[in-house]
Structures are given as structure tokens and as C-alpha cells.
């Protein structure tokens, strides 16, 4: 299977600040990939590079194209929602549909109309009259109506209330995702997308510290919760991170000896958010 996105030594500097530091990763077709990292880790910069919004150093191919040089052609097959509420305030919903239908060869008007029909939004309203959640619904309808191979979402639910966030992800999974599509998504709220992801990329200080499918994570990482008296035995197995929780100690292991761990306590696969915290605060070594 050929990679949809292939980055090697991807680097972006803003003056003295290095936002991306020789990042290497790839995204396969048909996956839902979460790009996860703390603030300022380079998430947005990576997405901007992938979408051709910024120049960069190093190698980067998206759908076989160089994004910055070929953004226009790339946007035939890729679409994105970068941040919430970027639809201009003066734009009417119907005009937005007409416009995208007029300029985008792969836009399906009937699909946008069907998606909007499920909402409370009427076509004559301007974006400035809509709530943040409604604007997101319009943008998502416009984006999902494009027959794109790659959809990139950068903090698509920032500032939305919990109902709007849930509706957003439900629409994404139920109405959009199929095996011809690939989604790359960043968000602060990892817990919310945890069960729709197939792959994760952890990014820290401009470098990719983990590039893995969820299946790989399940075989490669394990966590065990042990009572305090067994902590020394558990530490002998060389965890890379531990934390105290309700009188117990949870220890995280890479390439664990599962039999040994099972003797010490209850073994489980760490959740993405736990693994993220463990990886980033326990040190990636």
C-alpha cells in the first residue's frame, strides 16, 4: 500500500524557532490518524505544510504532490477545515454552496444540501447570524460534500459545546468515512476522538515521537496497576512512566513481559490519552 502522506526530515523554522525539526512520518490510505501533541509542539505547522499553506524544508509528498508548489491541484483531492469559524461573516449559506459548486470539480451539491437539511440552518442566512456550532455544521457540510481522498481537520471543534462536538464527530464517522477516504485530525480533546482513530502520531518539540497504529500500540505497550507493596518488583521490569492513582501505582511499559506483569497486577492497554501523557512526561527514551 502506498502512503498518502510521506514526510521525511520535514523542517520548518520561524526565525530562530524550530517548529518542525526533521519530522518523519507517513499516513496510509483509508486510515483515521490523530496528530497529537502539546501546545506549540508543531501540530498546526505540520498540517499547514501538508496543505500547502506554508513553505518548508525536507521532503513532503501528499497524494503524490508537493503541497506548497502544487496546492491548487492538491485541493482537487484534499480538503480541510483549519480552525473553527473561518467562513467569512458576509457569506450566505446558499452563496457558499453555489460558490464551492462553481469552483470545485468534485463538489456534490446534492450532498451538501442533504447534510444541511438535517440542521436548523436556512440558506438565506449569513455566517454572521449563525452560532459557532452552526458555522461548523455549514463548513463540515461543504467539506463533506467534496469527494476528496484526504480530509484534514485542525482543531475542528475548538470552542464548541459538547453537543456540537458530538454531532460533528458523529457526522464525520457516519456520513463521511469509508475505506476510500483518509482523515488526519488534530485536537486538544484526545478523549473525544480516541475511539474513532486507527492510527496516532505523537509530536513533541517538532519531532514525531510515536507513529503507530492502534493495533501496534496494543501489542507494544502495556500498563499495569499494582499495589504499593509490589512497586519495586514492577519497577524492576523497567517501566518508562509511572503514576499514583487511588493508592495504587500504574506503570507503563514498552515491549513488556506480559507474563511477569500479570503476576503483579491487572494488565491493560493504555488509552491514547494515558499513553500520550506517559510518553511525553516519562521521557521518550
Amino acid at each position: 500500500m502506498s502512503a498518502l502522506i510521506e514526510a521525511s526530515d520535514l523542517t520548518k523554522k520561524y526565525g530562530a524557532h524550530v517548529a518542525l525539526d526533521r519530522a518523519n512520518f507517513s499516513v496510509q490510505a483509508g486510515r483515521i490518524v490523530g496528530l497529537i501533541g502539546p501546545n506549540g509542539a508543531g501540530k498546526t505547522t505540520a498540517l499547514r505544510a501538508i496543505l500547502g499553506l506554508t513553505a518548508y524544508e525536507g521532503q513532503l509528498k501528499v497524494l503524490g504532490r508537493e503541497p506548497f508548489r502544487e496546492r491548487t491541484k492538491l485541493m482537487d483531492d484534499a480538503c480541510f477545515i483549519a480552525d473553527v469559524a473561518v467562513l467569512p461573516a458576509w457569506l450566505k449559506v446558499n452563496d457558499a454552496i453555489d460558490f464551492v459548486a462553481g469552483v470545485h470539480p468534485r463538489f456534490r451539491r446534492d450532498r451538501a444540501a442533504a447534510l444541511l437539511a438535517k440542521t436548523q440552518i436556512t440558506g438565506e442566512r449569513r455566517m454572521r447570524e449563525l452560532s459557532k456550532g452552526m458555522k461548523t455544521q455549514v463548513h463540515l457540510a461543504l467539506t463533506m460534500a467534496v469527494d476528496a481522498k484526504l480530509l484534514v481537520l485542525d482543531e475542528p471543534t475548538l470552542g464548541l459545546d459538547i453537543l456540537a462536538r458530538r454531532a460533528f464527530y458523529d457526522a464525520l464517522v457516519n456520513d463521511y468515512m469509508d475505506d476510500t477516504r483518509t482523515i488526519l485530525i488534530t485536537t486538544h480533546q484526545v478523549e473525544e476522538i480516541e475511539n474513532l482513530l486507527t492510527d496516532v502520531l505523537f509530536i513533541e518539540k517538532g519531532r514525531i515521537v510515536l507513529d503507530s497504529s492502534l493495533e501496534e500500540i496494543a501489542t507494544r505497550y502495556a500498563a499495569v496497576a499494582v499495589a504499593a507493596d509490589k512497586s519495586e518488583a514492577a519497577r524492576a521490569e523497567r517501566p518508562f512512566y509511572e503514576r499514583r492513582m487511588l493508592g495504587k501505582i500504574v506503570l507503563y511499559y514498552e515491549h513488556p513481559n506480559l507474563e511477569k506483569l500479570a503476576e503483579l497486577g491487572e494488565v491493560h492497554t493504555p488509552s491514547i490519552s494515558d499513553l500520550f501523557v506517559a510518553k511525553l512526561s516519562g521521557g521518550a527514551q
Binding site: L53, M75, D83, A85, L87, P88, D95, F99, V103
Partner: protein, 290 residues
């Protein structure tokens, strides 16, 4: 081509002032002709023909002056506005190149907006001529209803649009660069660099080449594109009450077509304008944040 049409349509959605301002000016002028004084007592009564010319050029000039100010503001604001409301992130998610986008805005400012004002000026002139000739009687009526005068007016407008579009290309390119680059206060940023250059030259070198160059570009179009004083054969002399009045035979007498299009200043400026526009496109490619 289709994309360009949508992009221009989009400019009309975003900037309703493109047609609102000329509509308001037209409405005001029509109102003035409805309720204003029409039995003009000119000190030396002009020949009817000359009155018609004066009337048409005054209306056209009013629209043209406002249009120039608006188009300048539009160019300064258009790319900045996309970054200010972050909608640039939406526009760039569509398969439209930045070159097409920037050129659509340039074309809107230099061709589309002038055409809108042209149409508004024509409609206003027609309505006013009709009202004034009904209210003012045959003297005025005789002045404004000349087919040749109307044809001349159309040609004059087209000439204005084409020559200003070429002559002010460097100014347009510069404004687009400021619009694509500035983080705030586009107006200030458009004035500061040339002003700083001008003052620096005056202080450190003692000359004022920059000021001369800028002034040339601002007003140089007039003496180049027009005969300020057409040749003797092009005037009509009328004697009214012992006063000799010279009026131009035709509005075309003033147009210096060969002078404008053969001047190196015209084409050097256009080349500089093209370079600045390429610069603006490069900035649009790279700058998405405010």
C-alpha cells in the same frame, strides 16, 4: 474562466459598496435634478452643445473621482480582509490558485469597479438629462440630446478605464503588496514606506527624486493621456452677445491616444506594476496569519 466569474461574484458579495456607493451618488444627483434649480443663468450663455458637454463631463467626473478613491481603498483592503477574518483558510482550501485570486481582485479594482461606475454614471446622466430637459425646457433639452455627444461619452469612459488601468498598475501592485503583508493599519503602512523614503532622501542626499517620481506617477497620466490644449482646428468658436466662447468640437479632441500608448513611461510603469503584482502573489502564497 468560470472560476474567475465566481471570484468576481464573490467580490460583489463581500463588498456591497462596489454598487451601493455609485447607486447612492446616482440617486442623489437624480434627486438634485428633480428638485434643484434648472433655469440656469450663466453669465455668458453657453451654446447648448457646450452645456451638454459640460453637464456630461461633470457627472462622469464626479463618478470617476469617487471611483478612484474607492478602488484605492478596495485594493488596500482586499487581501488583508481575508487574513483579518481568517477566511483565507477557507479560500485556500479550494482548488483556486493564489495567482487567480490576486488577479481577480486586481481585475475587480481596475476593470469591474470602473465598469460599474461607468454604468451608474450613464444611467444617472440619462435620467438627469431627461428630468432636466422636461423641467428646464427646450434650451437645456437642445444641449443634452445629441447622439454624437453620447457616443463620445462612452468612448471617453472606456478610454479612462483602459488608460488608468495601465497607468496605475504599479500603484495597484503596491497596494496589493501592503494588503497581503500588513498585520494591521493597512492605510498607515501604505503611506509610511514612501514617506520614509522621501524624508530619508531629503535628509541624507538632499535631493527629492523619490518625491518627483511619486508625483509623476500620481498625476502624470493627465498630461500624457490628454491634450490639455487641443490644436486650434479642434475648437468651435461661438459669439454670444459680443462674447466669444471657445468650446471643444468633440470630447475626443482631448484624447491623446498615441501620446499615451507610445510613451515609455506608460510601459515602464506597467512593467514595474507587473513585478509588484508578482510580489503580491508571492506574499499571498506565504502569509496566511494576520
Amino acid at each position: 474562466m468560470n472560476t474567475t466569474v465566481w471570484l468576481v461574484r464573490r467580490e460583489f458579495w463581500e463588498n456591497r459598496a462596489i454598487w451601493l456607493i455609485p447607486a447612492v451618488i446616482g440617486a442623489l444627483l437624480v434627486l438634485a435634478s428633480l428638485f434643484g434649480k434648472v433655469n440656469l443663468n450663466l453669465p455668458a450663455p453657453l451654446p447648448a452643445h457646450a452645456f451638454g458637454q459640460l453637464f456630461m463631463v461633470t457627472v462622469a467626473g464626479t463618478f470617476f473621482a469617487v471611483m478612484s478613491i474607492y478602488a484605492t481603498w478596495y485594493l488596500l483592503d482586499c487581501l488583508y480582509a481575508d487574513r483579518r477574518d481568517r477566511s483565507v483558510l477557507f479560500w485556500k482550501s479550494l482548488p483556486i490558485s493564489d495567482t487567480t485570486t490576486v488577479l481577480s481582485k486586481l481585475g475587480t479594482a481596475l476593470i469591474v469597479i470602473p465598469l460599474v461606475y461607468f454604468a451608474a454614471a450613464d444611467a444617472t446622466t440619462l435620467l438627469m438629462a431627461f428630468i432636466v430637459s422636461v423641467r428646464g425646457g427646450s434650451t437645456i433639452g437642445a444641449g443634452v440630446w445629441h447622439l454624437d455627444l453620447w457616443v463620445q461619452l462612452q468612448v471617453l469612459w472606456m478610454y479612462l478605464i483602459v488608460t488608468t488601468a495601465i497607468w496605475y498598475l504599479p500603484l495597484a501592485g503596491y497596494l496589493l503588496i501592503v494588503s497581503a503583508w500588513a498585520k494591521r493599519a493597512v492605510m498607515l503602512w501604505s503611506i509610511l514606506p514612501p514617506l520614509a523614503l522621501l524624508i530619508a532622501e531629503r535628509w541624507f542626499v538632499g535631493t527629492h527624486m523619490v518625491a518627483r517620481l511619486l508625483w509623476e506617477r500620481m498625476v502624470g497620466w493627465v498630461p500624457l493621456a490628454f491634450h490639455v490644449n487641443p490644436g486650434d482646428g479642434l475648437w468651435v468658436t461661438t459669439v454670444v452677445d459680443n462674447d466669444t466662447i471657445r468650446t471643444p468640437q468633440s470630447l475626443w479632441s482631448f484624447l491623446n491616444v498615441t501620446g499615451f500608448f507610445s510613451s515609455p513611461e506608460t510601459w515602464l510603469g506597467a512593467a514595474a506594476g507587473a513585478a509588484l503584482i508578482i510580489g503580491a502573489i508571492q506574499l499571498r502564497l506565504r502569509r496566511t496569519e494576520i
